[in-house]
């Protein structure tokens, strides 16, 4: 078992997408961890609020001083660096909490079945029947701007996906013999769920989580794009892109005049999401039992 698992992990890192994905993630982790050194914040200020570096509202192209240029009186480089932390925060917080909650709902529903399951699944269905983006927009508007509120809104409307997955897995596993065995030996419910059911359905959940990580970061940015994301001037890629939105089509006669406003935060975001998607892809290739070829 352990050698098999070790081999799986080796395969995970050796596959093209796994290697690319994990390297990108490692890179972003380093950037996030080293943010205070890469882009030192002004003393005494909240480092997540991008400081004003220029008074002119007009964007400035990259220069030796501001290597990614200036947008909205702020250093794009600073925003991209600190935005890495915001991206991790949104992605990880939402994924972890919603997965935990979904796990709970799914596990309880799947394991106990009958009425409990029926009620929980109906509630899940109701949440699923509200379009995700619209629901998130309403919730984020109601809670007001701020990354924490975005996170809350996203959690509130994304726990259903892991819940369903877990429930399905549990129903499948429940039939299997070792559960019956465990039950006959008299292990209690929680014990069965924690010891036997969860470990066996954890990989599909992990795969789904890493895939969702990417799309959550995009959704958070979409909220920013609709003007209800993080607070203004908060170091957040979605916010930077939202600011760039009104400059994307260029100025004067030049379409590409403000390219740097889109390219740097955009690239950061695409690469970040890409990293998670690649990791998810690799995870799936390795762990999805249906794909043993």
């Amino acid at each position: 078992m352990t050698s098999e698992r070790r081999q799986l992990i080796r395969r995970l890192f050796l596959s093209t997408s796994g290697f690319l994905g994990f390297s990108l993630l490692a890179f972003f982790c380093i950037v996030a961890l080293c943010a205070p050194w890469l882009a030192p914040p002004p003393a005494g200020r909240d480092p997540y609020l991008m400081p004003v570096v220029e008074w002119s509202p007009n964007p400035q192209p990259p220069s030796s001083e501001y290597i990614f240029g200036v947008a909205g009186k702020r250093n794009i480089y600073y925003g991209v660096i600190w935005g890495t932390r915001s991206a991790f925060r949104v992605g990880i917080t939402v994924t972890v909490i919603s997965t935990m909650f979904g796990l709970l709902v799914g596990a309880v529903g799947g394991y106990f079945g009958k009425i409990v399951d029926e009620v929980l699944m109906r509630i899940t269905d109701i949440f699923l029947a509200i379009p995700f983006l619209v629901a998130a927009v309403v919730m984020a508007t109601i809670l007001g701007p701020g990354l924490d509120n975005v996170i809350r809104a996203l959690i509130f409307f994304s726990w259903m996906f892991p819940a369903r997955l877990i429930r399905g897995n549990i129903l499948q596993i429940k039939e299997e013999q070792y559960i019956t065995a465990a039950r006959s030996v008299g292990v209690n419910h929680v014990g069965i769920i924690v010891r036997h059911v969860l470990p066996n359905s954890i990989f599909p959940v992990l795969i789904q989580a890493s895939m969702r990580m990417g799309s959550l970061v995009i959704t958070a940015a979409a909220l920013s794009f609709l003007g209800i994301g993080a607070r203004e001037n908060y170091a957040d890629w979605g916010g930077l892109l939202n600011y760039a939105r009104n400059w994307m089509l260029g100025g004067g006669g030049e379409v590409l005049r403000y390219w740097y406003m889109v390219v740097f935060p955009g690239a950061a975001m695409v690469l970040f999401v890409l990293a998670w998607n690649l990791v998810g892809d690799a995870l799936r290739d390795v762990f999805d039992p249906r794909l043993k070829v």
């Binding site: 081999q7 080796r10 395969r11 050796l14 070829v293």
Partner: protein, 334 residues
Amino acid sequence: MSVMDNYILQVHGLQVTFTDIERNEIHVVDGVSFSIKQGETLALVGESGCGKSVTSLALLRLLDGNGRIRGGNVLWQGRDILSLPLREVRSLRGREIAMVFQEPSSALNPVYTIGDQITESMLRHQKVSPAQAKKQAEEMLRLVGIPEPRKRLEEYPHALSGGMKQRAMIAMALSCRPRLLIADEPTTSLDVTIQAQILELIKELQKRFHMAILLITHDLGIVANMADRILIMYAGKVVEEGNKQDIFRRAAHPYTRGLLNSIPRMDQAKGTFASIPGTVPDPAHFPEGCRFHNRCGEFTETCLSEPGKIHLENEHFVLCHYPLGQKTLGCRAK
């Protein structure tokens, strides 16, 4: 070894490898040779993972994914299948050599009707109209003992029971009257009573169509019932070969002995190989020398070197340093 005219299929030194994720080549089938005479039943026996299924697939070049044939030849009436153009191999498949697989519910395509799947191969290999093919298919279904064959033709596989599915599989395989039927564990997934029926059916049809059968199985009970000659495979190699009587009465290889000791009587449920300690080694890590040495009761230092093939009697060969219950009669084959 002399080429005899009544051998329809001769396999020489077949080598099959698989590539794992780290791109290591793993020899799954290592120098397997055998031949089949017209009309006889040759049983290929071994535990799962010994390479017997791979061998059977390699014969028709049906290995998929990363399986590769690395050597040897497969002579079908004098022509080497392994070097024929794929187009010609395809025209052999189903027409001259047909296959029946272990798991009828997964070997039948769930989204096409039984009739569709049976006529498909007739339409491919014979000059018949769809209507004729359908009529023949119905006939075949009747032949394999499926009631209401006309109705069954229109049904999807999931509507049939396991035994019926396997009958349909057989009907499909025999629809072009092949000269060799490769049956890969044809009854493993079936209930014991059904098993017997299916085996009877195969025997009956064999007589009727005068075809040879390559029966792949791990079940020596079936072998005793069906086979004319037996090939014992272990870890990618043929370790013993001989006709039924020789093997059952004078098994020379410790592995064969082990198998025979675990043989269940026909009235019992499926047997196990519990009497042989350990499991079949992982193809990536076959032991040095005699591949059975780590499970063998007769193990000595000598066994760490490659054993030679020993001719015992008639067509009885064994691959062992210490063949059991025998004086070494023949010379060591090369």
